[in-house]
Symmetry: C2
Subunit: 225 residues, 2 copies
């Protein structure tokens, strides 16, 4: 191996890049980052949401912290983790785009799952914004309330999935309902649409989550209910 000029420097830099990519090179860590991109969480909450043991979750979070993707602070008894930088959410989107563009498996898995749940209508974002503003459509954010607080699509109403049944009565029956959650691979909105339709609502699912919405440069709000 005859060393080329600048080799030392190049290798050092590429190693740093690889370190970042390596942090996302495990399904569990991808899931943790996705959860954290919806808002800060304690270790315990993350372990529960991702169906992992506590110790394992903690270990993975430390790998992520080592690569600089997340930060943690201690709040009394709890340790809260959050994304270290908005660029991390962008990175996750980039990974998703490559996966979607290139991996036939992603398409297949999604198709199989959604076919089972018969849910395929796409929603046109431009039209949606106009209709939300005009009040022709009810836009539901069915994620947990905390995620809504830390950022939601402008004009959306927070109705966490577990509360949907109770709050159905107060929704206007004539207006079409559009439900969204964390993004194209999140199942909350799918379940919500199922329930709404069962009760006679006209309901569809918006594939995009808040991250996609923001990446498209569309209006996102914080804190309000």
């Amino acid at each position: 191996m005859p060393p080329t000029p600048g080799r030392r420097f190049k290798t050092a830099i590429y190693e740093q890049f690889a370190r970042v990519a390596k942090a996302l090179a495990s399904a569990h860590r991808v899931e943790l980052v996705e959860l954290l991109s919806q808002g800060p969480r304690t270790v315990e909450a993350l372990a529960r949401l991702a169906d992992m043991t506590l110790a394992n979750t903690s270990a993975h979070l430390q790998v992520l912290r080592g690569a600089g993707l997340v930060e943690s602070t201690r709040d009394g008894l709890f340790v809260t983790y959050r994304l270290a930088d908005p660029s991390v959410a962008d990175l996750l989107l980039s990974v998703r785009r490559v996966a979607e563009a290139r991996l036939a498996e992603v398409a297949k898995i999604t198709r199989d799952f959604l076919a089972q749940n018969s849910q395929l209508e796409p929603v046109d974002e431009a039209a949606l914004r106009v209709r939300v503003r005009k009040g022709e459509v009810t836009l539901l954010d069915v994620r947990p309330a905390e995620e809504f607080v830390s950022g939601h699509i402008a004009g959306a109403l927070s109705v966490p999935l577990p509360e949907l049944a109770r709050r159905l009565a107060r929704l206007p029956k004539r207006r079409e309902v559009v439900a969204y959650c964390r993004g194209p691979y999140c199942v909350l909105a799918i379940e919500a649409v199922k329930q709404l339709r069962a009760r006679g609502f006209k309901a569809v699912r918006l594939e995009e989550g808040v991250l996609d919405w923001a990446a498209l440069g569309l209006p996102v709000e914080r804190t309000s209910a």
Copy 2:
């Protein structure tokens, strides 16, 4: 571990994402992707440019192909690899941004190296475009000619580094020279500026490479010399 609704589906999707990230989880593969983002290359060329053995390069390229990041075609005796999709170049940029935002080491390595080569003036892109158009500045692309052909900054002149010495005589001495290469971590332009200054030119380095330039929405040309 009590399985949560949709767990099967989630795990399947996150595994696909992780597969993409894993492909970039090695310094060698990052370097290969970076080289390929400048244009298609044969296995031999990649091995030489990255200072790797042929067999090892081939093995890494197959990992990349398995993850869907690159494609290969056989041209007679040679096998040419190329990026499978423009989203792959975006992914590399995202990784770089996270690394820059979060890893102190990247900053330090860059600083150390550039300090040694005393080269720190930043170039204002907006001003640069105007000055290139007015002919106040000579913009040099010092990468190999093939990379120039497969995409370069509008208005640039192709002068591969090895030919610079020979072509110095024909460059206008009064006009300031701006040199660029593959991006902030590429060393070709640094070397070019060094040579130019030694011969009495006023020369600076543009940190951005063609990828950055395109990502900023600035004009990129193909094929012409």
